[in-house]
C-alpha cells in the first residue's frame, strides 16, 4: 500500500493502482472517455489529465501508476490536484480539442441524454468554440446489422476496438488512417462477427456507434427502467429492461461481477422486438381442426371436459426453456393433485436425474470461479454459443495467464486457443486412459475443470457419457471439498429451476420423449416447450407467449407472460437463484402463468392453495428453502455427486457430439419472433458458409 495525497486527502492505495483509481478511492471524480475498467489502458483521449505536484505537465491519470509518482523533497507522499487551476485548464483544453471536430447534432443523436461527451462538456468544458474552420467529415461505415455508425461523432477513444479484440476475442474493428483522418471501421466494411458486438455501442462514449434496431426510436428520459434477469440462455445475465409505456424498448446490461460483468450477448439485447411480434394475446381453442379465439372460460371448460374423462396415467406435462420457477411449481402441484406421473422438463432429452445431486446439473465452480481454473476440458459443448458470457469468462481467464483448454465435440472458434481433442465419447475414453497428451495437462493442473455440455447429455447414451466424464473428474482429482471442478453447462434458463423442483417423471411416468411420442398420452400440458413437437393423438394444452411451434400444435392455447412481464424466479447454470421484475403487462388477455394455472386448478376441482404470488412463494420457499436465498448459490455436495455419477457405468457409443444450440440467434420462441435476430442468423449462416469454403 502506498500513500498519496489527492486534493489534500491522504489515501492509502495499492502501489499498482493508477492515479485515476487512487483519485476515485479518495472520492475525486475524474472525467474520462477512453479509459474503461475492463479494457486495456489506451491513454489517448487525455480527458483524465490531473496535476501531479512535481511533474512538469499535467499527467494522464488513467495511464500513470501511483508507484511511478516521486515523493516530495522531504519524502512527503506524492500529491495530486484534481481541482486545481492547471487541471481545470487542461480539461477545458482537451474538451475544446475533442469538440473541434464533433458535430453539434445532439438533438438528432441517439446518444443524447446518456452521452458521456455531452455530460462532460457540460461539467468540464467551456461554452464556446474558437474554431472557425471546416469540421472533419467521415464516411459512415457498415459494421453489421446491430450497430449503426455516425462516424463524424467519433472521438477515437478506441474502446470498441479494444473491446472486440480483448473481451470478445473477435478483432473485427480497427482504426485505419492516422491523425485527423483516423477512422474506425471493420475490414472492408464487413459485418462484425462477434456475438457480443452490441456492447460496442454501449461502450461508445459518444453517439458514433449506436444500436441500429432502436435508432431514432427512444430517448433515455422517456423510459422506465426495471432491473431484471435474462432468460435467453442459462447464464442469467443481469439486465435492465427499459420500457416506454407498456412496450419494452431496449434491454441493457447491468453490472453483476459474478455473472456477466457488464456485457450481454446480442441475443439478450435484441430479442426485444421478439417480445412484440407473434404474441399470444388471447386464449384459442381448436375447433374442426382450426384454432379460433376463445374466452378464458371456454378454454378452461374445454380443458376440464377433456381432463375429467382421462385416466391420470394418460396425462402428461412438459416444461419448456423459458418457464419461471413459480409456474413450474404451480404446474407440478396441479399435476400431482391430479395424480399425473408423466412430468418432464428436460426438453432436449438430457440424461440428468435430480436425484444424483445438484452438482450433476449445475456448474459447481460458478462463472466467476472459472477465473481460478488452470485447465478446462469442454465436453460436447460450444460455450460461445450456448453461454456466451461464460465463454467470455473463460477467455478472460486465458488472458490472465496460461490456461490449457481442451475441446471434445464439434470444432469451433472459441475465441481463445484450445486443443481440439476429438469429436465423440471415444476421445473422452482416450483421455481417461491417459492416451492423449492433454491428460497430462489435466492431471498436472491444480484446479482442473470439466464442463459437460447439453450436446453430450441429450442423447441415448448421455448418462454413460456423464458417468465417464465424472469418472475422469474424480480420477484427476478435479472435485474436492474446496474445488468442484465438474459441472454441466445448461442451455435453458428454466432447466435448473425445474430440476431443483424435481419436475421429472415420477414412478411409472413417461419422460419427455415418451410424452411427446405419437399416441402415448391423451392430454398433454405444455408449458412453453416449443422445440419438441408433440406427436399426434394427444389433446395438447399449450401455455406460452408466442405463436411458435408449440402453439401451432396446441388444441387449447393459454396466453402467458414473457419474462419481462412477470416477476418470476429463474435459476441459472451455476445454481444461482434470481428473479425477473415486471417491466410491463402481458398483451391483451394474457396473464401471468402461475395465475393461469391457479385459475385452471379451480375449474379442474383441484384448487391450488395460493391466491397471490407471495402466497405461492411462501409455499415454494417452505418446500424448497434454497429458492428464498436470492442471488446466492446453494452449496451442494459435489464430491458425493461425482462419486454417484462415476458409479453409473454404461457404455457410450461412438457417435460424435452435436451442438446443443444449432443456431445461436434463434434458440427460443422469443428470439425466433425477432426480425433483428433473424437477420443476424442469416448473416451468421453466410459467414459460416464462407468460413467452410
Amino acid at each position: 500500500m502506498t500513500k498519496i495525497v489527492v486534493d489534500g486527502t491522504e489515501v492509502d492505495v495499492p502501489a499498482e493502482y493508477t492515479l485515476l483509481q487512487a483519485c476515485e478511492a479518495a472520492g475525486a471524480e475524474i472525467p474520462r472517455f477512453c479509459f474503461h475498467e475492463r479494457l486495456s489502458i489506451a491513454g489517448n483521449c487525455r480527458m483524465c489529465l490531473v496535476e501531479l505536484k512535481g511533474a512538469p505537465k499535467p499527467v494522464a491519470s488513467c495511464a500513470y501508476a501511483v508507484k511511478d509518482c516521486r515523493p516530495g523533497p522531504n519524502g512527503e507522499p506524492p500529491e495530486v490536484l484534481t481541482r486545481s487551476g492547471t487541471t481545470k485548464k487542461a480539461r477545458e483544453g482537451v474538451m475544446e480539442f475533442l469538440l473541434i471536430n464533433h458535430p453539434l447534432d445532439c438533438p438528432i443523436c441517439d446518444q443524447g441524454g446518456h452521452c458521456d461527451l455531452q455530460d462532460q462538456a457540460m461539467a468540464y468544458g467551456v461554452d464556446s468554440t474558437r474554431y472557425g474552420e471546416n469540421k472533419r467529415a467521415v464516411e459512415e461505415k457498415y459494421i453489421g446489422p446491430l450497430v449503426r455508425t455516425a462516424m463524424n461523432r467519433c472521438i477515437h477513444c478506441t474502446r470498441c476496438v479494444r473491446f472486440l479484440a480483448e473481451v470478445a476475442g473477435v478483432p473485427d474493428l480497427g482504426a485505419i488512417g492516422r491523425g485527423e483522418d483516423m477512422e474506425i471501421t471493420s475490414y472492408l466494411e464487413s459485418a462484425m462477427g462477434s456475438e457480443l458486438q452490441g456492447n460496442v455501442a454501449d461502450l461508445c462514449p459518444v453517439g458514433a456507434l449506436v444500436h441500429k434496431p432502436q435508432s431514432y426510436e427512444v430517448r433515455p428520459w422517456e423510459l422506465s427502467k426495471t432491473e431484471s434477469v435474462d432468460v435467453m440462455d442459462a447464464v442469467g445475465c443481469a439486465i435492465r429492461v427499459d420500457a416506454r409505456g407498456r412496450e419494452v424498448m431496449q434491454i441493457e446490461p447491468r453490472v453483476h461481477e459474478g455473472i456477466n460483468e457488464e456485457w450481454i450477448s446480442d441475443k439478450t439485447r435484441h430479442a426485444v422486438d421478439g417480445l412484440r411480434t407473434q404474441r399470444l394475446d388471447r386464449p384459442y381453442l381448436r375447433e374442426n381442426g382450426r384454432l379460433r379465439p376463445a374466452s378464458w372460460g371456454e378454454a378452461f371448460s374445454a380443458i376440464a371436459a377433456k381432463v375429467k374423462g382421462t385416466d391420470p396415467k394418460r396425462i402428461g406435462a412438459v416444461v419448456g426453456d423459458l418457464a419461471g420457477v413459480e409456474e413450474i411449481y404451480a404446474l407440478k402441484a396441479l399435476m400431482t393433485s391430479l395424480g399425473v406421473t408423466s412430468l418432464d422438463c428436460r426438453q432436449a432429452g438430457e440424461a440428468i436425474d435430480p436425484a444424483w445431486g445438484r452438482a450433476a446439473y449445475t456448474l459447481g465452480t460458478g462463472i466467476a470461479g472459472i477465473e481460478e481454473a488452470d485447465a478446462i476440458l469442454l465436453v460436447g459443448t460450444n460455450p460461445r454459443l450456448e453461454a456466451s458470457l461464460l465463454n467470455v469468462r473463460i477467455r478472460k481467464r486465458w488472458r490472465m495467464g496460461p490456461l490449457a483448454v481442451g475441446l471434445i465435440g464439434e470444432p469451433a472458434d472459441l475465441t481463445y486457443p484450445h486443443v481440439y481433442l476429438g469429436a465423440g465419447p471415444e476421445t473422452l475414453a482416450d483421455l481417461a486412459s491417459g492416451q492423449h497428451s492433454f491428460a497430462e495437462a489435466l492431471k498436472a493442473a491444480n484446479r482442473p475443470l470439466i464442463i459437460v455440455g447439453t450436446g453430450a447429455l441429450a442423447r441415448p447414451d448421455g448418462a454413460a457419457i456423464l458417468a465417464a466424464a465424472a469418472k475422469l473428474a474424480r480420477d484427476i482429482g478435479a472435485v474436492t471439498p474446496e474445488w468442484s471442478g465438474f459441472g454441466v453447462l445448461q442451455t435453458a434458463a428454466a432447466r435448473v429451476g425445474a430440476l431443483d423442483l424435481g419436475f421429472v417423471p415420477r414412478e411409472g411416468g413417461h419422460d419427455f420423449a415418451g410424452i411427446a411420442a405419437a399416441g402415448a398420452l391423451d392430454v398433454v400440458f405444455n408449458l412453453g416447450a416449443d422445440e419438441v413437437e408433440i406427436g399426434p393423438g394427444a389433446f395438447v394444452v399449450y401455455q406460452g407467449t408466442h405463436g411458435d411451434r408449440g402453439a401451432t400444435r396446441a388444441d387449447v392455447i393459454l396466453p402467458g407472460a414473457a419474462y419481462t412481464e412477470k416477476s418470476a424466479t429463474y435459476v441459472n447454470l451455476e445454481g444461482r437463484v434470481q428473479t425477473t421484475n415486471r417491466a410491463g403487462f402481458p398483451p391483451g388477455d394474457a396473464r401471468e402463468d402461475w395465475a393461469i394455472l391457479r385459475a385452471l386448478s379451480d375449474v379442474l376441482g383441484k384448487r391450488l392453495p395460493f391466491d397471490s404470488l407471495s402466497a405461492l412463494r411462501r409455499a415454494l420457499y417452505a418446500e424448497h428453502p434454497h429458492f428464498a436465498a436470492l442471488d446466492t448459490i446453494a452449496p451442494s455436495d459435489a464430491v458425493a455427486t461425482v462419486e454417484t455419477l462415476s458409479g453409473l457405468g454404461g457404455e457410450p457409443t461412438r457417435t460424435a457430439f452435436v451442438a446443443a444450440v444449432p443456431d445461436f440467434y434463434l434458440s427460443n420462441a422469443i428470439a425466433r419472433a425477432s426480425r433483428v435476430l433473424a437477420e443476424c442468423s442469416s448473416l451468421a449462416r453466410v459467414r459460416g458458409l464462407e468460413a467452410a469454403e
Binding site: 478483432p171 480497427g174 485505419i176 488512417g177 492516422r178 475490414y187
Partner: protein
C-alpha cells in the same frame, strides 16, 4: 493527407503470392522475432509485397501478409493505411513523394507542389505515359537539404521546379541521374561549401604532435632563465585550490549585477552607470514595482522622483501608467531609477 482507401476493385489483382525468392526473404524477416511476435515483421513484409507488386499494395497482398503472420486482416490494413510509404493505389514507374512539412515548405516545397500539379495533375494519379505519380507526404527526415522528394527508393534534395523538371525528364528518358543534392553539395554540408574545419593542416598530418612542440619551445625559454623545478616541486610550493576551474585564468563572474555588488559590500549601482542613465526628468514612465534587493536605491529614486515632480504620488498598488511617447519604453526607462537586480546589461 487525405483518407486512404484501397484501390477500386477494377484495379485490384485477383491474387497475390510472394515469389519464391521473396517468400524466403520474408521467412528470414519473420525468423528475426521470437515465437508469438511474428506480427512484428508486418512492415518489412508489406514493403516487400509492395515492391513485388510494382510499387503499390493490393488488397490481396494485405490479406496474404496478414495470413502469413497470423494477424486479423484489419490489423494489417491499419498499418498499411497509417504509413504513406505504402501506396494503396497503382503508382507510376517513378513514384514521387514530395515532402511538404514545415522545413521543406519554408524552403520552397510549395513551388514544387505547384509544378507537380501543373505537370502531373492531382496527386494520386498516374500520368498518361505511366511514368509518374506523386503524393505530398510528411517529413522524410532530410530537412537540412530541403526541399526534397523521394522518388522510388532514393532521395533527391535541394530541388527547384527547374531541377525537379529536369530530373523527371532524365528519369523518364532513362538517363542517369544524381541521387541526393541536385545543387552539388556533398551530403548535408552547408550550401556554400564547407566553412568549418577548413584548415588544411587539420588533414595533412602536420598537426600531429604540434602541442608537444609548443611545450618544448616554452620549456627551452624557461630553461634559459633559471633552473626549472619539476612540476611536482612547483605544485608543492604553490598549491592551488581543488576547484573545477583550478589552474584556469582568474575571471570575474560573467554578470556584474547590482545584487552581486550589494552582496560584495559595494554600492549596487556604480556611479559611472548613473551618469549614463537616462534623464529622469524627461521620462514619463513610472518607476516599476521596487526591487527588494536594492532598498537604498529605491529610496533615492523616490526622493529623486519627488524632487523632479513626477507622478510618484500615485498609490503604489495601482499599475503604473504606460508610457505614451514611443521613444522611451517602460523597460528602458525604469531601470534608471530602480535597476532590476538580474539585469546584467546595466552593471557593465
Amino acid at each position: 493527407m487525405a483518407n486512404r482507401r484501397l484501390a477500386p476493385a477494377s484495379e485490384q489483382p485477383a491474387a497475390f503470392a510472394f515469389s519464391s525468392e521473396n517468400a524466403d526473404w520474408a521467412k528470414g524477416q519473420i525468423d528475426k522475432y521470437p515465437e508469438g511476435r511474428q506480427a512484428s515483421a508486418v512492415i518489412p513484409l508489406l514493403w516487400k509485397a509492395q515492391e513485388q507488386n510494382g510499387g503499390w499494395l493490393p488488397q490481396k497482398a494485405i490479406e496474404a501478409v496478414a495470413d502469413e503472420l497470423g494477424m486479423p486482416h484489419i490489423r494489417v490494413l491499419e498499418v498499411a493505411t497509417f504509413y504513406t510509404m505504402f501506396a494503396l493505389e497503382p503508382v507510376g514507374k517513378f513514384w514521387i513523394q514530395l515532402c511538404g512539412t514545415v522545413p521543406c515548405d519554408s524552403c520552397g516545397a510549395r513551388e514544387l507542389k505547384d509544378y507537380l500539379h501543373h505537370r502531373l495533375g492531382a496527386p494520386g494519379h498516374v500520368s498518361a505515359d505511366g511514368n509518374f505519380s506523386w503524393l505530398e507526404v510528411e517529413c522524410l527526415g532530410a530537412c537540412c537539404n530541403a526541399p526534397m522528394a523521394q522518388i522510388n527508393q532514393d532521395y533527391y534534395e535541394d530541388l527547384t521546379p527547374d531541377l525537379l523538371g529536369k530530373l523527371m525528364d532524365d528519369l523518364a528518358a532513362g538517363r542517369p541521374v544524381k541521387i541526393g543534392s541536385q545543387v552539388g553539395r556533398t551530403s548535408s554540408e552547408p550550401l556554400g561549401g564547407a566553412d568549418t574545419l577548413t584548415d588544411a593542416t587539420l588533414f595533412d598530418g602536420s598537426r600531429v604532435g604540434a602541442w608537444r612542440k609548443r611545450f618544448e619551445k616554452d620549456e627551452e625559454n624557461e630553461a634559459g632563465k633559471e633552473e626549472a623545478a619539476s612540476s611536482e616541486q612547483r605544485a608543492a610550493s604553490d598549491p592551488k585550490p581543488a576547484r573545477p576551474d583550478a589552474g584556469r585564468a582568474a575571471e570575474r563572474p560573467v554578470t556584474d549585477a547590482p545584487a552581486q555588488r550589494a552582496a560584495a559590500g559595494e554600492t549596487p549601482v556604480k556611479p559611472s552607470d548613473k551618469d549614463d542613465a537616462a534623464d529622469r526628468t524627461e521620462s514619463t514612465a513610472q518607476p516599476n514595482t521596487p526591487a527588494p534587493a536594492a532598498p537604498e536605491t529605491i529610496a533615492k529614486a523616490e526622493a529623486a522622483g519627488a524632487e523632479a515632480g513626477t507622478q510618484s504620488a500615485l498609490p503604489r498598488n495601482e499599475p503604473p501608467p504606460q508610457p505614451t511617447n514611443s521613444g522611451a519604453s517602460a523597460d528602458a526607462a525604469a531601470p534608471a531609477s530602480a535597476p532590476h537586480p538580474s539585469d546584467p546589461k546595466k552593471g557593465n
